[in-house]
């Protein structure tokens, strides 16, 4: 068995306290507090193989971070079974945590007041990394992430992107076979994002590192993950390749038009009334987008109709973007 992660019927419930309103309510809250039990993660099961890069996505509050906290053994599950790297994350803590690396994009794991390299030095001791291992592995990491000039600066003086690169390096000091990344690209500029993606790809290829990644930036997923697990309201609603998600849900095509004359949405709707088309207008750029079925016949007919009636400046045929697909799923749910 070489699954990096096995999750069976995993569940986590939180007590959600609600405050009563008003002064009287506040006094009553002192005695008894109202609470509801809310399942943040509701009976999920999945496996991740060694060397896989999996995108773990879902709306805000879907339960992604909660899952990661259970997989890393920080939170105790309400019920269900978790096996990570062949171990129960709650037993044998020290041995277990030495086999994982974690980056929480929203909180720093470096020591705030001291230079980055001091943090690295401490972590090196903490994970019992030998000098040879450290030199051969970290020299490369530091070079690839381009953090050499940052090493002697205290963490509090780094910008977000600089810090995040250091965080990633810190999570890799012991070269763990499994990496959990909770929103590692939050708030980063395009270049830093690209650098981090390249780097993750590289260590995945080089060391066969398993990576579980949550993000709201779907281009991260497109760049890195063949497989996505989609969570909604604590339940897994999709688990499979990104490609088949696109095929299944991205059936439509988008055709963008720009016109030489003033055009109204109602005009367009009238022109294409006979076929099933949905028009949308991007006000700023005066771009009109037609959403339609992915059918070549239909598309050429549509274009013919539009061109016959209006003067066209630019036409652009696009597949529905992943972003769009995911947005539709979040909006309407999978059914």
């Amino acid at each position: 068995m070489n699954d990096a992660i096995t999750v069976r019927n995993l569940k986590k419930e939180f007590k959600a306290y609600s405050s009563r309103s008003g002064l009287k309510g506040a006094f009553r809250d002192l005695l008894t507090r109202n609470y509801k039990i809310v399942p943040a993660v509701n009976n999920i099961s999945f496996n991740v193989k060694q060397g896989e890069m999996v995108g773990y996505i879902g709306e805000n509050g879907a339960g992604k971070s909660t899952t990661i906290k259970m997989l890393t053994g920080i939170l105790t599950p309400t019920s269900g079974e978790v096996i990570v790297n062949g171990m129960n994350p709650h037993k044998d803590r020290e041995k277990f945590v030495s086999t994982i690396g974690v980056v929480f994009g929203q909180r720093s794991q470096l020591w705030w007041d001291i230079a980055v390299q001091e943090s690295f030095r401490l972590l090196k001791k903490v994970y019992k990394v030998t000098d040879e291992q450290y030199d051969s592995h970290m020299a490369h990491v530091i070079k690839t992430l381009d953090i050499e000039p940052l090493l002697d600066k205290p963490v509090r003086k780094l910008s977000l992107g600089q810090r995040m690169r250091c965080e990633l390096a810190a999570a890799l000091i012991h070269n763990p076979p499994l990496l959990f990344l909770d929103e590692p690209t939050i708030g980063l500029d395009v270049l830093v994002k690209l650098k981090i993606r390249e780097f993750l790809k590289e260590i995945n290829e080089k060391y066969n590192t398993t990576i579980l990644l949550t993000t709201h930036d779907l281009s991260d997923i497109e760049a890195l993950c063949e497989r996505v697990v989609m969570l909604d309201d604590g339940k897994i609603i999709y688990d499979g390749t990104l490609k088949s998600l696109k095929e299944k849900w991205g059936e439509g095509k988008e055709i963008e038009f720009q016109f030489l004359e003033e055009v109204d949405l109602s005009d367009l709707n009238k022109i294409t009334a006979s076929s099933e088309v949905k028009w949308e207008k991007d006000d700023k750029e005066a771009i009109f987008t037609a959403f339609t079925e992915d059918n070549d016949e239909l598309i050429s007919l549509l274009i013919a109709k539009v061109v016959a009636d209006l003067k066209v400046k630019d036409i652009n045929i696009k597949e529905t973007s992943t972003e769009e697909i995911i947005r539709n799923i979040y909006d309407r749910g999978i059914s």
Binding site: F14, S65, K69, T72, G73, I74, L75, T76, R93, E94, K95, V97, S98, I100, V102, F104, Q106, R107, S108, Q109, W111, D113, I114, A115, E118, R121, L122, K125, V126, Y127, K128, P154
Partner: protein, 263 residues
């Protein structure tokens, strides 16, 4: 073990990063020592000794009690509370070390830093201003060294206990503040325990607080006989062992029901 020693070093660096804090600290401590010195001088008046302590012993007691406090005192309870409230413990819990052990080491790093850069120079300064008496007997210094290390452990353990309660109470600022007052008062920092009414002394005998300040200060001022000193140190050691239990129990319960704040 390496990692724990490294942590002490890190704490040293952090203290250095904020060294202005400790200049003001020296001032505050000196003012405290001065105030208590004059207070006790007034109380002694013409008397040679109260409760078997001469006025010089008393001023030495006050000075050493405050300087020792610089070593054993730390804010790890408040740090823990902050880390728990902000959800930072999450990061601590994914490290292959014992969180409480690391916290203790941070406290020790802080203590050693203050001992060398604060207590020792502070004591030198204070001894120029006020008449103090230092023992020439090396056993006194040895006992004092052992005793003050145990003071640190007891105080730190109490801090850990207070810190862990954040897991259960969430907001325990009041508790932390109360604990501080209780320790300053009942540890003998402000008034030697032997000056308390007998019934209070009898109660305090069964509490760990006098192991924090009273015992090392009494040893330093030679107010204990060798035998008394050894007994007191053994008592301190026993308290260190006793306190391990509630800490471990609470810690295990806390981890079970731990909720990490924030996404």
């Amino acid at each position: 073990m390496d990692k724990y020693i490294e942590m002490i070093r890190i704490r040293f660096l952090m203290m250095l990063a904020y060294r202005t804090n400790y200049y003001t600290g020296i001032l505050i401590y000196s003012i405290n020592i001065g105030a208590y010195y004059f207070l006790w001088s007034a109380i002694y008046g013409e008397k040679d000794a109260i409760e078997g302590m001469s006025v010089i012993q008393m001023s030495t007691y006050v000075a050493v009690a405050w300087m020792a406090r610089a070593f054993y005192f730390n804010n790890i309870d408040r740090e823990m509370a902050a880390e728990i409230k902000e959800g930072k413990v999450a990061v601590e819990l994914i490290r292959p070390y014992n969180y409480l052990g690391m916290k203790t080491m941070q406290g020790l790093g802080e203590g050693i830093f203050r001992l060398f850069f604060f207590s020792v120079p502070g004591m030198a300064i204070v001894s120029f201003i006020f008449p103090l008496q230092f023992s020439a007997d090396w056993t006194t210094w040895l006992f004092f060294a052992v005793s003050i290390l145990l003071s640190f452990l007891i105080n730190t353990q109490i801090n850990l206990l207070t810190g862990i309660t954040t897991f259960f109470l969430y907001n325990n600022t009041g508790l932390i503040r109360a604990k501080r007052v209780v320790i300053d008062l009942f540890s003998g920092l402000l008034i030697p325990i032997s000056f308390f009414p007998v019934w209070a002394q009898d109660i305090l005998r069964f509490l760990p607080f006098q192991g924090i300040s009273y015992v090392p200060s009494m040893i330093f001022t030679n107010s204990f006989s060798n035998n008394e000193a050894i007994q007191a140190i053994i008592m301190q050691g026993v308290w260190v062992l006793i306190l391990i239990m509630p800490i471990q129990v609470l810690w295990i319960i806390a981890k079970k029901q731990l909720i990490i704040q924030g996404g």
